[in-house]
Amino acid sequence: MLGYLIRRLFYAVLAVWAVSIISFFIINLPPGDYVTSYIAQLAIQGNIIGAEEAESLREYYGLDQPSYVQYLKWMNQIRQGNLGFSFEFGLPVNDVIGERLVLTMILAAATIVFIWIVAIPIGILSAVRQYSIWDHTFTFFGFVGLAVPDFMLALIMMYFSFVLFDFSVGGLFSPEYVTASWSLGRGFDLAQHMIIPIIILGTAGTASLIRITRANLLDELRKPYVATARAKGLSEWRLILKYPVRMALNPAISMTAYILPFLVSGSIVVSVVLGLPTVGPILLKALVAQDMFLAGGIILLIGWMTVVGTFLSDLLLVWADPRVKFEGR
């Protein structure tokens, strides 16, 4: 067990390191660099910069060095917990994404909990009462939920919550709390503002988890061990929850691992529409501006969290299903 954990940790570090190399070099692949896009931006405003000045800017940012030197320097900073400097914001990357990262993680955790709470009971009900009116209703809404683009759902919900409840959606805080320091009131304000984003971000995941739970449970309900449990005299709901549901839950656990990267990269449009201060929109901005340390830093963090998430969900799987063994134990 301990050996397995250490080995997993080693592979995790290796994976994150690989992510850092690939992300760094891919970001550097397009022609030009941050200075190029900076000059272009200035040109739009009518300021022309001479080649000499551009050169000195490159030197200032260290962009004149070969990319492997830049990479090694970056890695050296990361070793000290510093993700580098964002050209675009003129701030250390840590400061740019600090609170956004915390908010992204809070939102991800809440979305996962929402998906579980909504999808698992509905999936169970749909399977146990297959072809009932409930099953058909949830199947219909499940497919609608899968098919409607998130950002459209976001726009619709923004409209209705504003018109019907006079509740302005957008951002995760009311104006008076945006820059305030953490307090009970700010937390409560955050919770209130998170409801709609959670529903929107969780809809697709909920719909697919309902389908997965239903399909798995239908398979499990026909297994002989269910008949055994029935023949023991267990009540129907107790036996369903104890045996087949436990078996059908594995996908819900594995799904947890990729919710976080989805929230960052897959939901940029929703985040932009809803004005969510998550890292998604920042990543988009950084990539457009070729702000490589900011983009690289975000991708590195997401990679790291995905690896950690996968690891945690693997541990959960081992706990939930004793047949899943630690390799080489």
Binding site: P224, T228, R230, M247
Partner: protein, 347 residues
């Protein structure tokens, strides 16, 4: 461990007592989109205390559905549409299990309590993600007021009785750590730990190799004597039936076509189907390369049940003036043998 009780099996049948369990005209249909399948269509038989009733028939004849109908654990879209399953309770009037609410408390106290069941697939009949201890203790505590520790002790005791080595340690193991034979032993322990009056064994040895099969049959017979328990033994294996059964019921397309003491069934079968079934058994004195006799024709599709006697298209004694037109009832032939065939009277 209690010592085996002396062999005083009361033959209730001889003393004229009423049966422990009486199945009368049981009908279980499956309502599918393609039509109604009459899986069990008028099955009747009695089970006497301490004896073994063997139910034999080809695949799809409704043996297993009959067994599951007794406990009302039919899967959707199956439904019991008629008949009675009477369980006599000590001295009192008998209870009709089919009148009980399908998942109500009353029938659930009988399931696994008075009537236990073991299944064909020892590999998949246990939950793969719960320990044996968990699953057996659950069965015990459902039907007794024992606390967890007492139930644990009883479970260990039963695992030992069915011949599982180091049972204490195996309680915390999972099904994938057991062999097929050991799982079936554990299954028997789980079914019998509540000391049921009737055990329904649905092809309990079909998935096992011959040596293990013999051991399992041995365990069942020993425990039957110790607990004075009745067994309904379902199989398609006539050899196994000959070994374990006191009374044999032969089923064909959801009906009992012949029933009688095991010796009579094997020495003088009456129904043409029983005769055909017996003659298709391989014998040791067959000549080398001799073709094995088989029943002509194939089992009809369940939705396409022949009119009249459902065996008539395959029957060597087919009588054109009656067999395809009317359904025969079970009639007594000799002292305690019954068969449903017009050869023995056109009732």
């Amino acid at each position: 461990m209690q010592s085996p009780e002396p062999e005083t099996v009361v033959t209730d049948e001889d003393t004229g007592t009423r049966p422990l369990l009486s199945v009368e005209d049981l009908q279980t249909y499956f309502f599918t989109d393609e039509g109604t399948i009459k899986a069990v269509d008028g099955a009747s038989f009695d089970v006497y205390s301490g004896r073994t009733l063997g139910i034999v028939g080809e695949s799809g004849c409704g043996k297993s559905i009959t067994a599951k109908s007794i406990l009302q654990i039919i899967d959707n879209p199956g439904r019991i549409v008629g008949g009675q399953v009477k369980l006599s309770s000590n001295g009192d009037a008998s209870k009709n299990l089919l009148e009980m609410e399908p998942n109500g408390e009353e029938i659930r106290s009988i399931r696994g309590g008075e009537i236990s069941m073991i299944f064909q697939e020892p590999m998949t009949s246990f939950s793969p993600i719960h320990t044996f201890g968990n699953q057996i203790i659950e069965a015990i505590r459902l039907h007794s007021p024992l606390d967890k520790e007492e139930a644990h002790g009883l479970a260990v005791d039963w695992l030992r009785r069915v011949g599982i080595p180091s049972p204490e340690q195996r309680m915390s193991e999972y099904p994938y750590q057991f062999s097929g034979g050991q799982r079936q032993r554990a299954m028997i322990a789980m079914a019998l730990c509540t000391e049921p009056r009737i055990l329904i064994a649905d092809e309990p040895t079909t998935a096992l190799d011959v040596t293990t099969q013999a051991q399992i049959l041995d365990i069942l017979q020993t425990l039957q004597k110790q607990n004075d328990m009745s067994i309904i033994f379902i199989t398609h294996d006539l050899g196994v039936i000959a070994e374990v059964a006191d009374v044999v019921a032969v089923m064909y397309l959801g009906k009992v076509v012949e029933i009688g003491p095991v010796e009579s069934i094997f020495s003088s079968p009456k129904h043409p189907y029983t005769k055909a079934l017996l003659s298709s058994m391989p014998t040791i004195d067959a000549a080398p390369r001799e073709r094995m006799p088989s029943i002509t024709g194939a089992i009809p599709h369940p939705q396409n049940r022949p009119s009249g006697c459902s065996f008539h298209p395959r029957c060597p004694s087919y009588m054109s003036d009656i067999c395809g037109l009317r359904e025969p009832d079970l009639v007594s032939i000799g002292t305690d043998q019954q068969a449903s065939c017009f050869l023995y009277g056109r009732n």
